[in-house]
Amino acid sequence: MDSKAPDLAVRHLSVRYGEQVALSDVSLDLEGGQVLALIGPSGCGKSTFLRVLNRLVDRSLEVRYEGEVVLGGIRILDPDTDLVALRRAVGMVFQQPSAFPFSVFDNVAYGPRLQGIRSSHRLRSIVESSLKKAALWDEVRGKLRRPAASLSGGQQQRLCIARALAVAPRVLLLDEPTAALDPLSTTKIEELILSLRGDYTLILVTHNLQQAARISDVTAFFRQGLLVEIAPTREMFTAPKCAETEEFLTGRYE
């Protein structure tokens, strides 16, 4: 992948867990550097979509997928895709804070250390710049040796973002990053996403429709594994094409 934030092209993607269909025949395009918001009712396949993009979906038992997904020129569903390289390029932030039970510093340094970076000077500067990008530096400077668990929920979520940024990915997948957070922390993470826009291709799952409206360029609405509608966010929220989308957006969805 080159230095520009990579484009995403998905063609006829279907995913099944055993008999359970999670995604069926999804096709979409996203320009590099944009923010794509995925919305839809619970169980419609949003997390599955994210987990396909870094092939974490491979961990599920009896999972099958078909179709084609091209990210920055790499066909990521090919069986011989280098998963380590893919996952370095595609960072992920999970719905629940998943900070390791290590210190703040060791959390952020985990990825760089995997790549063989040993020099404490380099690690320090990577940790510092990642924490700054994640807007957490001012709150944790001088406390880098404290356990990550001593941070608040919102700080932990930003720590996970910093941890993902430390391996210099080109794509960032965010699975309901603010679901468990108070409004102030939520605002911080939204500002953070907006600041990363352009340099990274961002894909955000959210149940908060206002959030999707505020920070995404493109919104995709899923239902029962189907991509119902994808459109520039402003269009989607002012004039959705499908009646179903409108029902969902106006809360009349059952």
């Binding site: 961990r59 380590v84 390289a85 996952r87």
Partner: protein
């Protein structure tokens, strides 16, 4: 409905009964410790602070109470057991967690079954397989510290595997996926995350296993050879604190001079076991 006024009578009866039971048990525990301490005091009255205790010659009917051979035996045998069993138990645990998660319940059941095997069976197994094998390979008698340690290793393996599985199983899937999502290989995730996070629980499991090995008597007695001299190597026969206690129960009945050295040996074991318990508590506190 009538308003509830006051408590019905007798509502604490059951608690009192249970409390009495607990008290009884506690007193029993203290009584055992007190008897051992009392025996040790009598030993000191009879023999003074006998300098031979720190020696290597053990002839209790002749005022020679060298306990060093048994202390060394206990330490060596326990060390062999843990050094052999821990890597094997870890291998079992990692295999179960990483590649056989769906069989985990079944494997837990099998291991629990193995835990329940009486130790004399392990001793029998050692006697009929291990001792002849060691004899055949080394040309020595076969009854040895090595045989004792290996029997113990096999004996604690199920317990240690079970505890290790529990330790690794507590590592959250979220952390594992977080590690993989950062581009860690499965091996890196195992070494830098799973094992690193489970350090303290694994240490705790090892201490419990050491305690079990240290206290085991029958299985060791059957294969260790029962020699009271300081062992010269892993292949030489020896004895441990526990096996010598067992041997001397019949050789040094109460009334025979030197009998009270047995109380002292038992007290040593009690203190060592208590030390293990304290150590487990300590590691638990570290892990918080």
């Amino acid at each position: 409905m009538k308003p509830v006024t006051g408590r019905p009578r007798g509502d604490h009866l059951l608690y009192r009964v249970v409390w009495l039971g607990a008290l009884l048990l506690l007193m029993l525990g203290f009584a055992i410790a007190a008897i051992l301490v009392w025996g040790t005091v009598k030993f000191v009255i009879d023999h003074g602070l006998n300098p031979s205790l720190l020696g290597t010659i053990y002839q209790p009917t002749h005022d020679q109470f060298g306990l060093l051979p048994f202390i060394a035996g206990s330490l060596v045998v326990t060390m062999i057991a843990i050094v052999v069993a821990l890597p094997l138990a870890l291998s079992v645990a990692v295999t179960v967690i990483a590649t056989l998660p769906r069989q985990m319940q079944m494997i837990r059941q099998i291991l629990s079954g193995l835990v329940a095997i009486p130790s004399v069976v392990f001793g029998w197994w050692g006697l009929s397989l291990l001792v002849p094998s060691i004899r055949w390979i080394s040309g020595r008698p076969g009854f040895s510290l090595l045989a004792g340690g290996l029997v113990l290793a096999i004996m604690i393996l199920p317990t240690l595997s079970l505890l290790s599985i529990n330790a690794l199983d507590r590592v959250s899937v979220r952390w594992v996926e977080g590690s993989l999502a950062l581009g860690a290989t499965p091996d890196q995730t195992l070494g830098r995350l799973i094992l690193s996070v489970s350090r303290i629980p694994l240490l705790e499991a090892s201490i419990l296993a050491v305690g079990r090995a240290l206290g085991e008597t029958m299985a060791v007695q059957m294969v260790i050879g029962g020699r009271v001299l300081l062992p010269h190597g892993l292949l030489s026969p020896g004895a441990t604190l526990t096996t010598q206690l067992l041997t001397d129960i019949s050789l040094l009945p109460p009334g025979i001079p030197g009998h009270y050295v047995l109380d002292f040996m038992a007290l040593l074991l009690l203190v060592a076991m208590y030390g293990m318990v304290v150590l487990v508590e300590r590691t638990r506190r570290w892990s918080l």
